[in-house]
């Protein structure tokens, strides 16, 4: 079913849809429409933070590619996600160096503390937990990433203090906004 951006009531979402449409308009064709798909999906994820079903319908309509194929792409590649992201996305490196240095125990501690599994988000949408396969800081392993911040030489004992830092940041923000 084709999606018309004008039919969407939420103003913010409508703007986002328009941005994607503009991007598709500005991209040059790469052999065929399908060649553009990867770039368009990257843009969509950048705009929404994830790939919502409606956005995939929109891309399908504009590029003339079945949504089923787009869904197939979205689920094949690790980089794309169908779920909204948490405010703070925690990535524990599970590359070889971090593994040998004991990254597995940090991951266990994270799961235990946040009470969520891999690929899940805490009920308050604060933290999400994922693994990554190498951040390229093997000399400082084990490595953990929270959004843009990198934490090196991790150990299970450091987990709580780091998570608290972000919790405090949020509490402060809330106080200010009140």
């Amino acid at each position: 079913m084709a999606v018309k951006s004008l039919e969407i009531k939420d103003k913010e979402v409508r703007e986002k849809f328009k941005e994607i449409e503009r991007f598709i308009g500005s991209e040059h064709k790469l052999n065929d429409n399908q060649g553009m798909l990867m770039g368009v999906l990257h843009k969509t994820q950048e705009v929404f933070g994830y790939l919502p079903a409606e956005a995939m319908d929109l891309v399908s309509d504009r590029l003339g590619i079945p949504t089923a194929h787009i869904y197939g792409m979205a689920t094949f590649y690790n980089y794309f996600t169908l779920k909204p992201r948490a405010k703070y996305q925690v990535f524990m490196c599970k590359g070889t160096a971090c593994y040998v240095a004991g990254g597995g125990r940090v991951l266990e501690k994270l799961q235990e503390t946040l009470k969520i599994g891999l690929g899940e988000v805490t009920p308050d949408k604060m933290f999400g937990l994922n693994i990554t396969r190498c951040l390229g800081c093997c000399g400082l392993s084990p490595v953990m990433q929270v959004n843009e911040d990198i934490y090196v030489r991790m150990g299970p004992e450091k987990v709580n203090a780091i998570l608290d830092k972000y919790r405090k940041k949020e509490t402060k923000k809330r106080k200010v906004s009140k």
């Binding site: 790469l30 052999n31 399908q34 060649g35 553009m36 798909l37 990867m38 770039g39 999906l41 990257h42 590619i65 194929h69 197939g72 792409m73 094949f76 590649y77 690790n78 980089y79 794309f80 599970k94 590359g95 070889t96 160096a97 593994y99 040998v100 125990r105 990554t132 396969r133 190498c134 390229g136 093997c138 000399g139 392993s141």
Partner: protein, 581 residues
């Protein structure tokens, strides 16, 4: 006399009581009348640690460590001016590293095309387009150099190029494979971020040699800085007339753009990478036809790894024979390794082919992290490679030798393993990665990998039987023979090579139900040693399952039924009284 460059790493400024070596060096250079003949470049890292002030003099490639104020005059007069090496200051004689691909990394500003040109950049392209003026001659230089693909398989680069060059068609494509997925290897990232123009120049030369008019750089989306740097490099190259129409007035027209990957290890495989650029799921296709004949959008396409392409400009500017002098009979040039694990100096090293593993581990990388532990093996080639036990450490590193030992060169991951690492656990880790990353198209890889992982889990949980080892081998051979692409064909390598060299360890898990390295937690038993226990009770407080009982008079014991083997008690005990068995 060639212009000398003195690299200075001065992390000990505080220990040197604030003495500024850079100024002192500059003053001494002036006093010795050498100010014009050498330049001083302060750098962040030379790869020598805990050795005070470190100097490296190029192009001599000699490194001096623990340099003191009194030595400066001697160094400038003897080494910089007379080219002599001062033995007593020299750090391990001449450095065993030889930097070709990483030559510019950390030394030139990656965002400045002028810097790259000053360092001799784009001379290879100039030579190809304006001196050799022939696709065949460029390929001939590559043939002379003996350069082989650095992405893993080691296929001769010139042969690939020549196949594509001979295709008669209106359109050909050149693709750079920057989808570095091997966990623990990051040389492509370092080159893309540290010396983007070398890759761009290599791509233009390759495009010219095969007759392509369009090049794609396929880069992992996880490397945003690499993408940014390459974008800037392409922009600058275009501005300087090195990219676009009529490059260097030679009549050759070539464009390039970036395509982003999206986190799929299998996309490092040529046909899967092509599918990904075409906007499809990254699943491989049966070969032949090879991409050099029928690749991207069914046109002849050449895919080369970042490291391979970064070596191309220097092969052209220095001539193929130059590279052929470095390395062994079958493997020429240098290879970058990302060395990590239980090693003192983790990081990237670039060494000539033919160097032994022992030299890399104990000389270049400074030996084991904990010198009291013994080295057990070195794992090379990432999830597609195998382990090389310590008895073979003196093997010269090249494609053939590593292959004979059941491992591969691969993209250059190198993990040092000591006696506290369990081989079953390691095999499980790598296989788990391949199972995660299998695209699911062909059954041997999809099902075989999963079944092998189940068997390994069974063994590390203490439920293994001896017959499982045969089953593992049978599935592994089936995967090697029947899988569609390199991922499936090599996914079993870590299991096969650990089985080959460390079968005893597997048997200890199966027969004795013990993990000799103390890693597999279901086979461990935590016990409190009465002689060391001070009866403080800290372990009781930290046990999440209340498995530790007793009191301060009688001492404490662990209830093995309740124990979940989390290891908290060992960690909190200050007297090392809780032992793993």
């Amino acid at each position: 006399m060639p212009h000398k460059i003195i690299l200075v790493k001065d992390t000990g400024a505080v220990e040197n009581k604030g003495v500024d070596f850079n100024t002192m060096l500059a003053n001494q250079l002036r006093d010795s009348g050498a100010a014009e003949k050498a330049s001083i470049v302060p750098v962040a890292d030379i790869g020598v640690y805990d050795k005070g002030l470190v100097l490296r003099i190029l192009p001599d490639n000699v490194t001096y460590s623990n340099v003191r104020e009194a030595d400066i005059k001697k160094i400038i007069e003897q080494t910089v001016l007379a080219g002599k090496i001062i033995e007593e200051l020299s750090h391990d004689g001449r450095d065993k590293q030889l930097r070709i691909v990483l030559k510019n990394c950390g030394l030139v500003d990656p965002d400045s095309i002028d810097d790259y040109i000053r360092a001799g950049g784009y001379q290879g392209l100039r030579k190809a387009l304006l001196e050799l003026k022939s696709q065949d001659k460029v390929i001939e230089e590559l043939k002379k150099s003996g350069l082989r693909g650095r992405g893993g398989a080691g296929f001769p680069t010139w042969m690939k190029w020549s196949t594509a060059k001979n295709q008669k068609t209106d359109q050909k494509y050149m693709i750079c494979n920057g989808d570095e997925g091997d966990p623990g290897a990051y040389m492509d990232r370092s080159v893309l971020e540290g010396d983007p123009h070398a890759v761009v120049e290599g791509m233009i030369i390759a495009g010219y040699a095969i007759g392509a008019s369009k090049g794609y750089l396929y880069i992992r989306a996880e490397y945003p800085l690499a993408v940014k740097r390459i974008e800037k490099a392409l922009e600058d190259a275009r501005e300087y007339g090195l990219l676009g129409e009529n490059i260097l007035e030679s009549g050759f027209t070539y464009e390039m753009e970036i395509r982003l990957g999206a986190g799929a290890f299998v996309c490092g495989e040529e046909t899967a990478l092509i599918a990904s650029v075409e906007g499809k799921r990254g699943t491989p296709k049966p070969r032949p036809p090879f991409p050099a004949v029928k690749g991207l959008w069914d046109k002849p396409s050449i895919i080369n790894n970042v490291e391979t392409l970064a070596a191309v400009p220097q092969i052209l500017s220095n001539g193929g024979d130059w590279l052929a002098k470095i390395g062994t009979a079958t493997s020429k040039g240098t290879k970058v390794f990302a060395i990590t694990g239980k090693i003192k100096n983790s990081g990237l090293v670039e060494v000539p082919m033919g160097i032994t593993l022992r030299e890399i581990v104990f000389e270049v990388a400074g030996g084991l992290l904990n010198p009291e532990k013994k080295i057990k093996a070195v794992q090379t080639g990432g999830p597609s490679g195998g382990v090389i036990p310590k008895d073979f450490l003196d093997t010269p590193v090249d494609y053939e030798n590593l292959g004979k030992l059941g491992s591969i060169m691969g993209s250059g991951g190198m993990i040092v393993i000591d006696e506290t690492d369990c081989m079953v656990d390691l095999a499980k880790f790598y296989l788990g990665f391949c199972v995660d990353e299998s695209c699911g198209k062909c059954a041997p890889c999809r099902i075989g990998g999963y079944q092998m992982l189940q068997l390994l889990n069974k063994i590390s949980n203490g439920e293994g039987e001896l017959a499982d080892l045969d089953k593992l081998k049978r599935i592994a051979y089936a995967m090697q023979k029947a899988s569609l692409c390199g991922l499936g064909q090599t996914a079993a390598n870590p299991v096969l090579s650990t089985l080959k060299y460390f079968e005893d360890e597997y048997k200890a898990h199966i027969v004795n139900k013990k993990c000799p390295a103390g890693k597999c937690k279901y086979l461990l038993m935590y016990k409190i040693g009465e002689d060391k226990c001070k009866r403080c009770g800290v372990c009781v407080k930290n046990c999440p399952t209340q498995a530790i009982s007793g009191n301060r008079e009688k001492g404490f014991t662990i209830d093995q039924v309740k124990c979940i083997k989390c290891g908290n008690c060992t960690e909190v005990c200050k007297f090392e009284a809780v032992a793993k068995e």
